[in-house]
Point group: C2
Chain length 330, copies 2
C-alpha cells in the first residue's frame, strides 16, 4: 500500500460503486450522455468490436466535467460560498470553472504558463480566475494548498479526490449500460481519475472485464507505479498528450488502480497522431491527443483486442485547431 506524503493520510477516502451512482444522479440532465460511436473500419483493422465513448462531445469538451461537477455538488454550502481552487494542465481547469459557474461557485484555476491557449481562453470564458505557474520549476500542488489555506477555498484537484474519481466513473457506467458486457475497457491514464473511476464502474457492471490504462510513453509513471506497487514520481514529462503529462498518480487513485486495473501500457506521440488522424478522416471527429491514448493502444495493437468486445474512452476534444493541423501535418 502506497502512502501519501505525511499529513495527508486523513483525506484518503476510497470511492465505491455507490459513489459513482450518486455522481450519476447529480449529473443527470447536466452532463451529456456522451454518444457511443463505432467504425466498421476500426473493427476490420483490429478484428475486434470497438465501442468509442465520445467524451469529446461532453460539456466543456472532455470527461473532466463529470468529476468537477460532482465534486462541486458534494461541497457544503459554506464551502461553496467561499469558493474553489484547483490546478490543472487543461481540461479540468475548464471543467471546474464551468461546474463552478453552473453552481454559482467562484473558481480559481492554477494553470501552467504553457497551457494551450484555447484551454486558458475557455477557462476564462467560463468565469474562472486563472493564475499561472511554471510547470518546470514550481509545484502546483503546493500553490493550490497554499491558496486553499490562505483564502479558505475548497481544493478540488484534477484527479486526486474521491468525488472527482466517482464522477469520472459515470462515463464507463453509461458505456456499459449502452452496449452491454465488455471484455476489455481501455481508458487514458494521466493522474488516474478517469482510470480509477472507470475501473470501479466497469468491474461492478461487467465483472469479467479487463480494465487497461494507457499513458504516454514519455510519462510512464503509471507503469512504473503499477509494477513497483507504490506511487512513483517522475520529472515533468514532455508529450503531445498534454492532459496526461503528470509527474505521479494520485494517492486516492493508486490503490484503486492497483486493485482493479489489469494492465497499463504506453503509446508514443506518433501513435497518438495516427489515432487522431483516424478519428478525423474516418470518424469525422476531433479528438485531442490525450483523448487518443486508449484508441491508439487498441488501433495500434499495443494491447491485443482481437475477437473482443472493447470499450474505448475518448476522453476529450479540446485541442487548438491550429495545433491539431500542425500535428497532423508533421
Amino acid at each position: 500500500m502506497s502512502l501519501p506524503p505525511s499529513g495527508r493520510e486523513e483525506s484518503l477516502v476510497r470511492p465505491h460503486y455507490d459513489d459513482v451512482v450518486r455522481a450519476a444522479e447529480r449529473l443527470e440532465g447536466v452532463a451529456h450522455r456522451a454518444p457511443v460511436h463505432t467504425s466498421r473500419t476500426a473493427n476490420e483493422r483490429t478484428r475486434a468490436e470497438l465501442f468509442f465513448k465520445c467524451e469529446n462531445f461532453q460539456r466543456g469538451g472532455a470527461f473532466k466535467f463529470r468529476g468537477a461537477y460532482n465534486a462541486v455538488a458534494a461541497l457544503s454550502s459554506e464551502q461553496r460560498r467561499r469558493g474553489i481552487v484547483t490546478y490543472s494542465s487543461g481540461n479540468h481547469a475548464q471543467a471546474l470553472a464551468y461546474a463552478g459557474k453552473l453552481q454559482g461557485v467562484e473558481a480559481t484555476i492554477i494553470m501552467p504558463n504553457d497551457a494551450p491557449e484555447m484551454k486558458v481562453a475557455a477557462t476564462r470564458g467560463y468565469g474562472g480566475h486563472v493564475q499561472f505557474y511554471d510547470r518546470y520549476s514550481e509545484d502546483r500542488e503546493e500553490i493550490g494548498r497554499r491558496l486553499a489555506a490562505d483564502r479558505g477555498l475548497a481544493l478540488i484537484p484534477p484527479y486526486d479526490h474521491p468525488d472527482v474519481i466517482a464522477g469520472q466513473g459515470t462515463s464507463a457506467r453509461e458505456l456499459i449500460e449502452s452496449v452491454g458486457q465488455l471484455d476489455i475497457l481501455i481508458a487514458p491514464l494521466g493522474g488516474g481519475g478517469l482510470l480509477a473511476g472507470s475501473a470501479i464502474a466497469a468491474k461492478h457492471l461487467s465483472p469479467s472485464v479487463k480494465v487497461i490504462g494507457v499513458e504516454p510513453e514519455a510519462g510512464n509513471d503509471g507503469v512504473q507505479s503499477f509494477r513497483k506497487g507504490e506511487v512513483v514520481h517522475i520529472p515533468p514529462p514532455k508529450s503531445i498528450a498534454d492532459g496526461a503529462i503528470v509527474t505521479h498518480l494520485g494517492y486516492h487513485n493508486f490503490p484503486i488502480i492497483q486493485d482493479l486495473v489489469d494492465d497499463i501500457v504506453t503509446v508514443s506521440d506518433a501513435q497518438l497522431i495516427e489515432a487522431m488522424r483516424f478519428f478525423a478522416e474516418r470518424m469525422k471527429m476531433v479528438v485531442e491527443p490525450t483523448g487518443c491514448l486508449g484508441a491508439a493502444a487498441a488501433l495500434g495493437n499495443i494491447y491485443p483486442v482481437e475477437g473482443k468486445r472493447v470499450g474505448v474512452i475518448l476522453s476529450g476534444g479540446n485541442v487548438d485547431i491550429a495545433r491539431f493541423c500542425a500535428l497532423l501535418a508533421a
Copy 2:
C-alpha cells in the same frame, strides 16, 4: 412548370411521403440513424434552438448513402445483375459504390478529374470502377447516359431520380421524429436531392415548418431557378463546397422545390469556413464545406432564425484532412 430536355418527360415520377417511408424501411438497420447534436454556444449566438442532424457520421460519411442505397434496393433483379452507373462530384460516388457493394451490384462511377483524392480513393475502396471526365469541357450526364445505353447499366444520377430523392428524405424524417416539430428546416442545396427529399418529409411531419435551401454564392442556380420558375443552367461554378457545384437543379427535384421549399439563400466560401471552424473547435466535428452550407446560413444570420426551433442538416464530413487544415489556415 419546368420541363426536362426533350425525350426525358416519361421519367418524371414525383416521389411522395410514402416513398420516404418505404425508403426508411429499406434503410432500417443499414443506414445509421445519424445523431442530432446541439451546442449551447450556437444557440446563444443565434438566440435560437438549433438541432444539427449529423450526416457526417452516416455510413460513407454523408447523407448520400441514403438515396443511393434506396435507389439500388428499388432495382429489379435483372437491373442489379447488369450493374449500375452514375456521375458524381464526390459523395454520391462513394455512396453508390458502397450501396452497390452491400447489395452485390457492380458500380461504375464517372468522376471529375479534380475530385478530392480522398473521395476517389474511398470510391475505389468500396469496389467502384472509376472513370474520369473533365468538369469544364465534358458533359457527365451525356457520358452517363451513353454508358447506360451501351452496357445496359441502370443510371442512378446523384440527385435527379425519384428513389434518390425519397432516400434523402429519410434524414429529415428521422430528425423530426427525434426532436419534434420545427419552425425551420435548413438543408444544403446542390442538385436538390437532399432539399427536395427533406421538404417532402418535413412538410408532412411538421406542416408549419419553413424549409430553406442553402447553396454556394458562386453557384446560385437554385436561387435563379426558384425566382424564374424554371430550371436555370449556369456555367460550372467554383466554390469550396465541392458537393454543391452543380450547373442546374434536377428536373425531378425542381417541381418539388418550387412547391414545398420556402426560400433559397446563398453563403460565401468565407462563411462556410467560419462554420467549419465552429464545428471543429466547439463541437469537435469534421464537417466538409458542402456540409456546412445550412449551418453557415443559420450561424451567420443569413436566414433569420432568432427565437425559432431550427433543424440544420449537416450533409457530410468527407474532406481531405490536409484540405480541411488548409481551408482553416487561410
